[in-house]
Subunit: 200 residues, 2 copies
């Protein structure tokens, strides 16, 4: 059985990662969403091992020190991270794993797992990105200005990824990502088993 | 405008290149079939520049000496080849070009144009490949034996390509090749224009 792929989808804030990954998962049952570990308190209805793996801070820090995370971050005092053991377990079982992740996290994953597939979502234009960030209506004027001025340098980081996918419509972005997954499975370096099976 | 891709589809004899490329072209109007040059005599109804570019041998040899072919071969006393100028003209106009080509030709193209996309068709099994070669019914017993014994080493050359696509059914093989084309257009190294357009 061929090993599953690690697929990360990332992008500047406001490019629509969440919506694209949601639609991708809905329409690709064979894709497994990577469950993160966190130190934040479970909210009502959240189940350990379903929404998140819930750890206390000491336990999380031990795992950081043992290099057990593909990436992690401290977000407003809570840790969030991706366990290498979880991702490897899924991949060894032949399942493709999807990581929806911010730009810094994706670069950490790339360093830890260079054979991963790194997809960067692009807005169709800077004007559209501004419209989307403003349209959220959840930002203070100051935070809005910060986000807007950060966008070009955030987008520039995408040049270090493998693929750039324009999120002009969610459906088209999802189709492109599905095509990338099919294509990556056909890469010769992942096809040794096929060739070996054709030997006399 | 982004430059078009050069896509070669190749494979051991009997893997169904012709049928797969035919279906791919039928269902992908934006894909341009590469017209070969040849020294053979036009058959009834064949038009210069449509089925082939028809050259006399002296003219063809001059072009060989000037390095104007991405690949060429002498097949039973007639030359066949792919003009770099034709392929480049199509690609500069933004069109993807499809080359259906034998294994040796594809390796010549890879040397001349390493940024091309090299797809190798695989039979689902050696037994199925044998059935397909025998099923043609056009082979002498000697030529059949030669083809069958050459198959494993022909297939092994596929490890030097970019992608391996199993031709289990024509439709599935065509879908995989279409996905490869979409994915290759999304590669970051081909997306500089997208990033540049997002600069302030």
């Amino acid at each position: 059985m061929a090993r599953g792929l690690l697929i990360t989808v990332s992008g500047a804030s406001g490019t629509g990662k969440g919506a694209v990954c949601g639609r991708l998962l809905e329409t690709t049952p064979e894709l497994t969403y990577s469950i993160s570990a966190t130190t934040r308190t479970p909210r009502g209805g959240e189940v350990d091992g379903r929404e998140y793996f819930f750890f206390d801070r000491e336990h999380f820090r031990e795992k950081i020190e043992r290099g057990e995370f593909l990436e992690y971050a401290d977000v407003f005092g809570n840790y969030y991270g991706t366990l290498r053991s979880y991702v490897d377990g899924q991949r060894d079982a032949g399942r493709d794993v999807l990581l929806e992740i911010d730009i810094q996290g994706a670069l950490q994953v790339k360093a830890a797992c260079p054979e991963g597939i790194f997809i960067f979502l692009l807005p169709p234009s800077l004007e559209e990105l501004k419209r989307r960030i403003i349209g959220r209506g959840t930002e203070s004027e100051e935070s809005l200005a910060r986000r807007l001025s950060a966008a070009p340098s955030e987008i520039d980081v995408g040049r270090r990824y493998d693929y750039a996918v324009v999120n002009d419509t969610i459906d088209r972005a999802v189709e492109r990502i599905k095509a990338i997954i099919v294509a990556e499975h056909c890469r010769v370096e992942r096809s040794a088993e096929l060739f070996d099976a054709l030997k006399i």
